[in-house]
Amino acid sequence: MIPTALMVALAAAGGALVSALISWLPALHVYNVLGLMMMGLYALPSHGVAVPPELILPFMIGLVVGWAMLNTVPSVLLGAPDEGAIFTVLPGQKYLMLGRGHEGVLMTGIGALAGTFFLVLVMGPLAPKLLPVIRGVMKPHMHWVLWVITAFILMSEWPKGGTFGPEGWHRFLDAWRGLAAGLLTFLLSGLLGFILLNRPPVDPDVAFQNILPAFVGLFAVPWCILNIMSAVNPPPQKMATSLAVNGDVILRGTIAGGLGGGFAASFPVITAGIGGLLAGHSTAQRDERVFIISQGVSKQVYYVGAFMMFFVPGLHAARGGGAMMLRTFHTAGSYYEYFMALASIAIAGAVAFLMLGPLTRLVIKFIERFNYRSASWLALLICLAMVVGITGLNGLVVMLVATGIGLLPVLFGSRRLNCLGILLLPFACNMSGLGPAIAHFLRLM
């Protein structure tokens, strides 16, 4: 009989190891993998199999922790971010095109490790006392905060053109093209969100994954298409033996990323990308290295922190897709499970960080051998297989529409963050009491 503590440690490390297999594939989001896993778990009791929580919970935590850290690899090397790593792509790609992709990944990885320390050592002891109070204070204000964030996202994008050519309408339109595309993206993705949340087109049997095809279409597929069409191949990558960062840079990145990720994790609908944007502006960190590290911290704190909140005693919160799925399967809230979760985060974080270097080298070898375009084709095929396999042809239709919307910011040079209108707009409307009226107007009710 394996002692419980050993079982927890092995399961957490196992989750992190499995995450290494899935995280380098750009289209595979950990929540989709968790969704597939949940489908298997739901079927087990009917076959007379009972899985102890000490095995399944640390494994799931390991999976989330490992993926949040290791998914940096495709974000930087393959230029395919999820919605939480949108801002890592630009500086990451710059590092990649300078042959310093390995260094870029490791710097983001340092941020993720710092984020794990922040969660276990800072948030771990404070969360049971602090988070319920914060939640109680914030609850009546969430709707207007969401509107303010939405306004900030839309208004903080600046015209990118309009500097050449004759003065007048041509220059004005050139300047506003990107902005208009951003607004259109936000509006269309918001309308898509209204449809998906009020009349989900996918079958009821797989309704728990009804947002999956939209997210794949908005974030993963456009990058695959663009990479396939652009045919840009990165130069040979140098393996870094040291990194140009010091304690000051790490600390500044951790504070900025911790703020952004923590805000995103504790606030409904806000993702790490938005959290990172707000933290970047509020702390005004200009150093590119600080920015890269802060994005690693933000993403780790967002994904892992949101999942961790499910276990915080007295909080009763399910933030993020992973916790929402787990809620259908398990009720948490005891200190026993909370400390088990913290231990699993620490163990999985260590295992994942140790795997970051070897995994990065493997993916660089893969790109050098099969090129960027092949990796993008593979990712696109995985996207299609996953969407059709889980949500069927209706899901494929949703994915195609979402792809059209997701291509707008890529082709017009506006922010991809506008695609998060899919959640921001319907949730902000619902929280303000406007949602049902809009859904009625759209004949969705």
Binding site: L192, P204, D205, F208, N210, A231, T331, T403, L411, M445
Partner: protein, 288 residues
Amino acid sequence: MDEHSQAQSNVQEIICQQCGRYVGPLPRCPHCGARQPQRISLRALRLAAVGLATVGLFLLWLMAIHRDIPLIKIADIQPTMNFALVRVAGQATGDARTFREAGKIRSLRFTVNDGTGDLAINAYGKAAEQMALYDRIPRAGDPVEVTGSLTIGADENVSLRMQSGDALKLQRAAKVTPPLANVTNVVEGAQVVVTGAVTRIVTPRSGSRAPYVVTVRAAAGERQLVIWSSVFEKIEQRERLVPGAALRAKVTAETYKGQKQLKLGRAADLEILPPPAATNPAPEAAKP
């Protein structure tokens, strides 16, 4: 791709693939007439993306609003159906419970049984208010069809959330409500008719959330009717509801703190009867 191969690729794009002479951006070689491969325009891609997004979204909207919401059996609900928009048809197993705050209905809850199992139905905010406003709050035995989103928690904690008041199709149960005197053991949720004379009315203190308690002397003995303020205020001609008045009320049996009580669910279910016939003038038909 290194700089040399990139440059080579650029040169290949401006010379004719057939004769090897300079073509530039022309679609056809001016020397040999061979058709030249063209790069796809970014402008065309942009227009295609805008078209795909807007037309696709419109078609998806059409698909969504024309799609029948599936009618499911409660026993068939699986955890993977969390957030699914479904319909459930069955009977309300008891009167809906309303939850009020500052005099307004904040939410209501009732349970539906479709023959395969029970499912808790919740309505919040405007949906609940709308149902109360149009007297569409289900009562025990009413056949209902409810549309809403499933919420599935651990330990088989399943409920359905109605998105609006229109999501409920309600038929009032056409049942014969027995008089209280004929009912020996009134079961929880059963509806009975009480007929008798009011002997006492206990009015709640100002600001209190307690209900009105009306004591009625019926054939089977004295009965106390519980009437919440929100219902009491809607009783027509309630000024006539004084000790000595005769009434007939359709009430529901409930248990509160271990005590059986009879609750008036709707103001329309209480009828204040005219005074006894002896005091009435002679009917028209009796006149010569």
